[in-house]
Assembly symmetry: C3
Homo-oligomer: 315 residues x 3
C-alpha cells in the first residue's frame, strides 16, 4: 500500500509513493515498514529506526532520522490503530489454492482446510478442526477435534494440539479515543510453533500484533493456558494448568511455571527458572536456575520462611 | 402455563387459571410471573412484589400482598427449581423459520444456524460456529470458528467473538434436597451483548436464570474470561485474561480488571474502578475512579505499602 | 503384546512370551500388566506387586517378588514412557462398528460419532460435538455444541455437558531425558463420569495415565474448570468457576471448592470439606466438614483473623 494512500486515510498530508509492506516497532521496522513513537522511553529507538516512516508527535519530530519520513500527529498510537485496519486481510478468504495434504495424513469429516495451506505427512486432523488460510503444519502432527488455527500460523512437526485449543486469536490491543472508544489494533502478526510441542485442551495462544508469537521446540503446555500476543517461549518450557502470560513475555529455555502462575507483560525470565504455583512475575528475572514463589514474587525459600513468619501473627 | 398446572406439578393445591409467563425475582416480577422468597433479607421485596404468585414459607404468608397468590411450601427455592424445568424450552428445536442472513454476510461450511434466528449484514460466521435458535446478530459482526451461541441470545453490531467462546451456557444454579441431591434451576434467561464488543478466545458467558446477562457497548474481554449468570458489564469495561466474575456482579462503565482478578457474586463496582491483577473483590465498591489490589481487596497504594511491611517480617 | 517384543523395543534382553495387556502402577497391576519403580517411596509397593514384570533400577532388583520379572534399566520412568507408546491406540480409527443411538435421541448435523460407541435413549447430541471411538453415553444426557469426548470415555445418564468442554484429553505426563527432551507418557486410561453430573462450558477433564479419572454421581462443575489426570471426585462435589485440580487429587463426597481455588497433586480431601475461593490445597485434609481458605491453606476463620492481623501492619 502506498504511503500516500495510508496518509490520506488518516488525514495527514504526504505525497510519498513509497510502498509500505506493513507495520512494526521502531527497532524492528525495515525500510518498507511504518512505525510509531508513543512512549518517550523509546526515544533512543526512534533515533535508530530504519523505518520508511514514523507516526510521531511534533515534539519529537526533530529526532526522526533523515531516511525516515516523519508523519506528525497528536496521538500516534491511536493513528496506528486506524492504519492497522488497512493491513488486515479479509476474515474469510473466498479463493486461493486448495490446501495440500501430505501422504499418510488423515483428515476427518467436518474439518475446514483453508486456502494456500499445507499439511505435512502422517498428520491427524480431527473432526471439527479449523485450519485457516495460509497455515502450515509439519509432519506427524495431531490436531484434536474442535481446535481452531487462525490464518497465517505455522505449526511444526511431531506436535500434539489437544481439543478446543485456539491458536492465533487476536492479541488484546486497542487504542483509546478521548471520548471513551477503543479502536482495535489489528493483529497482523502470527503464531509460530516449533517441533515436538504438546499443547493441552482449551488453551489460547494469541497472534502477534507485528511479527510472531513464538513457541519453540519441545515446549509443553497443560490445559487452559493463556499466552498473550508476542510472547516467546524458549525450548523446553513447561507451563502447567491455567497459567497466564501477558503480552510480550519472553521465557528463555526450560522455564517451568506451576499451576495458575502468571506474568505481567514485557518482561523476560532467565533460563531454567522455576515459578511455583500461583507465582506472579511482575519484573524480569535475570539470574538463571532459581526458584521463585508468591505474589509479589520472591525467592521460593524466602517465601516459605515468610509464610511461617506471617502465620506467627496469629499467636 | 396455567398456575393450576404448575401447582399440580409441585403438589400444592391451587385452582387459579391465571396464565404464568415465567419466573422472576420478587422485585422484577410482573403480574404474569411467578416468584419466590427464600431469604429473609428480601422480605421488603416480598411486600412490594407485583408477581402473580409467590412460593413462600408459611411463616411469611401474611406478608404477601393481596394481589399476589401465596403458594405455601416448606422449601421455596427447591420448589422453584422443580418449576423451572416446566419453563425450559426443548434443547433441540426441530422446526421453526429458517435463519435469515443479511446481505453481504458470509457463512462458512459446518456452521449450524438455528430456527427463528437473524444475522445482519456483512457478518462473518466461520466454520464450526453454532448459532442457536431465536438468536439475533447485528451487522458487521464476526463469529470466529467453533464459537457456540446458545438459544435466545442477542449479539449487537460491529462485534468480534473469538474462537471457542461460549455464550449463553447455563448459569451455575441448583437447589439442594435434604438427601444430598442438586435440583437444577433451569436458566431460562439469556445473554444480551451490545455493539462494538470484542470477546477473546475460549471465554464463557453464562445466560441469566431470569432476564439477561448483559454486556454493554464497547466492552473488551481477553481470553478465558468467565462471566457468571446475571452479570451486567457497563459500557467500555475491560477484563483481561482469566478474569472470573461470579453471578450477579454488576460492573458500572469503564471498570478495568487485571489478569486473574475476580469478584464474589451479588456486588456492584463503581464506574472507572481499576482492579489490579489477582485482585479479589468481595464487597461492593461505591466510590468511582479508584484503584484496588489484593485479596482481601484494598486501596492499591496501601496494598503496595503492605507488601513492603510484610517483606520486613523476614528481617 | 508379548513381553519379549516390548523388551526388544527398549533394548532389554528378555525371552518371556508372556502376554502383557497394559501398564499400571505397582499396587494396581495385575499378573498381565507391566509396572515400574521410579521413586524409593514406593519400595513397599514393589515388594507387594502382582505385576507380570517391573522396570526397576538394579539397586532394587533384589526386592522384586519372585512371580514378577525384573526388567533392569537405568531410568525406569523414561523407559516406561517409551513403552507407553506401544500401548497407545491409533489416534484416528478407520473401522469398527457404527455408533448405536438409542430411541428418542436427537443427533444434530456436524456431529462425529465414533466407532464402537453407544448413546442411550433420549439424549441430545448437538452440532459440532465429537464423540470418540468406544465411548458410551447413558440415557437423557445432553452434549452441547462443540464438546469433545475422546475415545474410551464413559458418561452416565441424566448428565449435561456444556459447550466447548473437553473430556478425555491427555493427562500432562512425560519423562525427561538427560539431553533435555520430554518423552510422552501416553495416557492410555480414560474418564468415567457418573449419573446426574453437570459440567460447565470450556472445562477440561484429562484422561488417566492408567485406569480412570473418575467423576462420581451428582457432581457439579462450573465453567473453565480443569481436572488433571487420575483425579477422583466423589458424589456431590461442587467446583465453581476456574478451579484447577492437579493430577491424582482425590475429593471425597460433597467437597465444595470456591472460584479459582486449586489443589496440588496426589492428595486427598475429606468429605464435606469446603475450600474458599482462591484456596490453595497442598496437603491432604483428613478431618471432614471443615472450611479452609488461603494459600498456604488454613482454617477459614483463622485465615480471616490473620488477614486482620496483616492489615494492622499498615498502622
Amino acid at each position: 500500500m502506498k504511503l500516500s494512500a495510508i496518509c490520506e486515510h488518516i488525514n495527514i498530508s504526504c505525497e510519498s509513493e513509497l510502498e509500505i509492506s506493513g507495520l512494526n516497532t521502531l527497532i524492528d521496522s525495515n525500510e518498507n515498514e511504518l512505525t510509531f513513537l508513543q512512549n518517550k522511553k523509546y526515544l533512543k529507538d526512534l533515533e535508530n529506526t530504519k523505518a520508511a516512516a514514523v507516526l510521531v508527535h511534533k515534539d519529537f519530530e526533530n529526532l526522526v532520522p533523515k531516511n525516515t519520513i516523519a508523519l506528525v500527529c497528536e496521538e500516534p498510537y491511536l493513528t496506528l490503530a486506524h492504519i492497522s485496519k488497512l493491513f488486515a486481510p479479509e476474515v474469510i478468504e473466498t479463493h486461493g489454492e486448495d490446501c495440500v495434504v501430505g501422504i499418510g495424513s488423515k483428515v476427518m469429516p467436518n474439518v475446514y482446510l483453508g486456502y494456500n495451506s499445507t499439511i505435512g505427512k502422517n498428520c491427524n486432523i480431527m473432526a471439527g478442526a479449523y485450519i485457516g488460510d495460509n497455515v502450515t503444519i509439519g509432519d506427524n502432527t495431531t490436531i484434536y477435534p474442535n481446535v481452531t488455527i487462525y490464518r497465517d500460523c505455522n505449526i511444526g512437526s511431531d506436535c500434539i494440539i489437544h481439543a478446543g485449543t485456539v491458536i492465533g486469536s487476536d492479541g488484546f490491543g486497542f487504542a483509546n479515543t478521548k471520548d471513551g472508544k477503543y479502536i482495535k489494533i489489528y493483529q497482523n502478526g502470527n503464531v509460530e510453533i516449533g517441533n515436538d510441542v504438546e499443547i493441552g485442551a482449551n488453551c489460547t495462544i494469541d497472534r502477534a500484533v507485528f511479527k510472531s508469537t513464538i513457541i519453540k521446540d519441545g515446549v509443553r503446555l497443560d490445559n487452559l493456558v493463556h499466552i498473550g500476543h508476542n510472547c516467546i517461549l524458549g525450548n523446553g518450557c513447561i507451563l502447567t494448568g491455567q497459567v497466564g502470560l501477558s503480552g510480550s513475555t519472553k521465557l528463555n529455555e526450560y522455564v517451568i511455571m506451576g499451576g495458575q502462575s502468571a506474568t505481567a507483560g514485557h518482561l523476560e525470565i532467565a533460563p531454567f527458572t522455576t515459578i511455583a504455583a500461583r507465582g506472579g512475575v511482575t519484573k524480569s528475572i535475570t539470574e538463571p536456575k532459581k526458584s521463585w514463589a508468591g505474589f509479589p514474587l520472591m525467592d521460593h525459600r524466602e517465601w516459605l520462611k515468610l509464610q511461617g513468619r506471617i502465620a506467627k501473627l496469629l499467636k
